[in-house]
């Protein structure tokens, strides 16, 4: 048995006795996955759509105004808030942010549709709302109003010569048929559920936190002269690197297996959705291995940059939080504005997360995840090369 075997065995023993690191690497992501998957279940249920609330005040009480309200209510993304009060009170409610839209249907709205001078519905939006959300609600309201108007106009034409009175309904059906959304393929969905988003997100986050114990022990061994001693005993530097990297790579694979198991079995036991692993386990394995390699290489780079344990911990924390914030771990990237989304595309955590979502949501196979796995391996190779260069020229041993 060569030095590498003893280096790996030693690392296992040390890691097994480091309870704080084990808690950080295994308990932290478990807690995050459970909390976030359960707490954000409702938010993710609409495939990532933002829950929009509105107050609709119908001062007309006509058939037309009822049709308009019914049309808006039919949108699953919009939630009506039933709040009594005059217009001024409702606008205060809007400014306070307790509802996002206020729709006022004026008296005589229905009757005015025939007059040629319709009385317009007024729409107020909360001042802090994203412009895209305002446009979305505005478009939905206009579409509802257009339908009411169209129905009224078609009904006004009376029955056709064949005595058919359902012409308006059929005309609207034809309007509906102008744009169709193809049905989703079985097993594919447009956006992640809470568990599909949070399991890979916090798994990747925890895998990159391997840098804390790895870099701390590396810095300590270097500072205490242990590496000098090993080098003087003829142990080559590359074996010191591998002796550290291999056990931590195994730890990251164990993290992957455990967090997926939590998503599949534990989250549903607690009332959340079960994680569906997709149809290609080999693609999933590739993503876990690629993220693990990137994380361990990054950890070795931090270890060779840092001069002290404090520096290593700080550097790891700051880099990981930045990677996570930009990479969609903390805030899903699909709700980020385009600029931030573009910046986030440079985060290795984003590559990892998108790769996992390729497998979970898009039923991606090896070929589908290969580009993102390739990016992670490239990042890992670059970090490892830099770490090896710094270690080779390090005179501290």
């Amino acid at each position: 048995m060569g030095p590498l075997h003893h280096l790996i065995r030693k690392e296992w023993i040390l890691l097994g006795r480091d309870r704080h690191s084990l808690l950080l690497l295994f308990l932290m992501p478990t807690a995050f996955i459970l909390i976030m998957s359960l707490a954000l279940r409702g938010l993710f249920a609409g495939h990532g759509a933002v829950a929009v609330t509105y107050v609709l005040v119908d001062s007309d009480k006509s058939r037309a105004s009822a049709q308009l309200a019914a049309r808006i209510h039919a949108h699953p993304e919009f939630a009506a808030v039933d709040t009594p009060g005059d217009e001024e009170a409702l606008r205060r409610l809007l400014r306070s942010g307790r509802t996002q839209f206020l729709v006022l249907v004026p008296p005589g709205f229905g009757a005015s549709l025939d007059s040629g001078e319709p009385r317009p519905v007024r729409l107020y939006a909360a001042p802090t709302l994203d412009a895209a959300v305002v446009k979305l609600f505005d478009a939905a309201l206009r579409e509802a109003a257009a339908r009411v108007y169209l129905r009224r106009s078609l009904d006004g034409l009376g029955p056709n010569p064949d005595g058919d009175s359902g012409a308006a309904d059929r005309a609207l059906e034809r309007v509906d048929a102008l744009v169709v959304s193809p049905p989703e393929e079985p097993g594919k969905s447009a956006g992640p559920t809470a568990v599909q988003q949070n399991v890979p997100a916090w798994l990747i986050f925890a895998m990159f936190f391997i840098a804390v114990p790895l870099s701390s022990t590396w810095v300590q061994e270097r500072a205490q002269g242990t590496y000098q001693r090993l080098l003087s005993m003829g142990v080559p530097r590359w074996k010191l690197v591998l002796g550290k990297a291999i056990p931590y790579l195994c730890v990251s694979l164990a993290q992957g297996a455990l967090m997926l198991a939590i998503g599949v079995w534990l989250v549903p036991l607690l009332g959340g959705d079960a994680l569906e692993l997709g149809a290609h386990p080999e693609a999933l394995a590739l993503m876990i291995a690629a993220v693990g390699f990137a994380a361990v290489s990054f950890a070795l780079l931090v270890a060779n940059i840092a001069r002290s344990v404090e520096q290593a911990t700080l550097l790891t924390g700051v880099c990981n939080l930045l990677f996570a914030a930009l990479g969609g771990v903390m805030v899903p990237r699909f709700i980020m504005p385009p600029t931030l989304k573009a910046i986030g595309a440079c985060s290795p955590m984003a590559w990892g997360l998108e790769g996992f979502l390729d497998v979970f949501l898009r039923r991606g196979g090896l070929a589908d995840v290969a580009p993102r796995a390739g990016l992670l391996v490239g990042f890992g190779c670059a970090a490892l090369s830099m770490a090896a260069f710094l270690f080779a020229r390090d005179r501290r041993g």
Binding site: K10, L14, G225, Q228, R229, S232, M233, G234, R395
Partner: protein
Amino acid sequence: MVSSGTLPLKAEPPLIEIEKLQFRYPESPAPALDGVSFRVERGLLYGLLGPNGSGKTTLLKLLAGILAAPKGALRIAGAPVETRTSRERSRCALVPQDFAFYPRLSVRENLEFFAGVQGYGGSDARERIAETMRQTALESWGDHRADRCSGGLKRRLNIAIGLLGRPELLLLDEPTVGIDPQSRHFILDSVRSINRAGTTVVYTTHYLEEIQSLCARVAVLDRGKLRAEGSLTELLGGGAGAAGALEGLFLELTDSALRD
């Protein structure tokens, strides 16, 4: 013409030969070692004296092959340090000043690990571990975690790891720093007996009385230069006097100004 009788024996080279050795750390303006030359014969207990920053530890690292010297010659047993094989390197053991072992491993686990990485396994490793534990009186501390040992025990473990390879050259970098008089006395006794058993020892320290009680020859380094080299008798002008005499000589050679 035919000669008769035995062939003349080839003289064995000194264990350490250092010639015009220079070394400078990349970030440092001044050389750590500047034209140092001396020899250490086999079986000697050799003292390296010098104030902080004089180049003692750098010289030990060069001898251990951790650093490579760009200028000058450094040979161990006649072979340049940089050409030695792994096995040859393990015959020269460095005991650093810091506790260069794993605090979370027990005393025995540390010894097993360092024996293993040097390629000793099975009964050979067990024998070596038992031998070094005996030499350093660690037999009853094998299962103690290293971070829970006293300073003296840690120093002994640090030395024990260096002895695992049964080195022919032992480089001890200030092995008695921060320990009680009993542990210090034990370590000095151990160093003597290791040397008596045939191991050449290079010993660095700030404690002049240790040099005086242990070493046959001494080199005094200051600011990377060799200021004096010889036996204590030679250096002290014929009278191997009290520790005070050596201290006087030391301060004369290195001047008394503070170094850090």
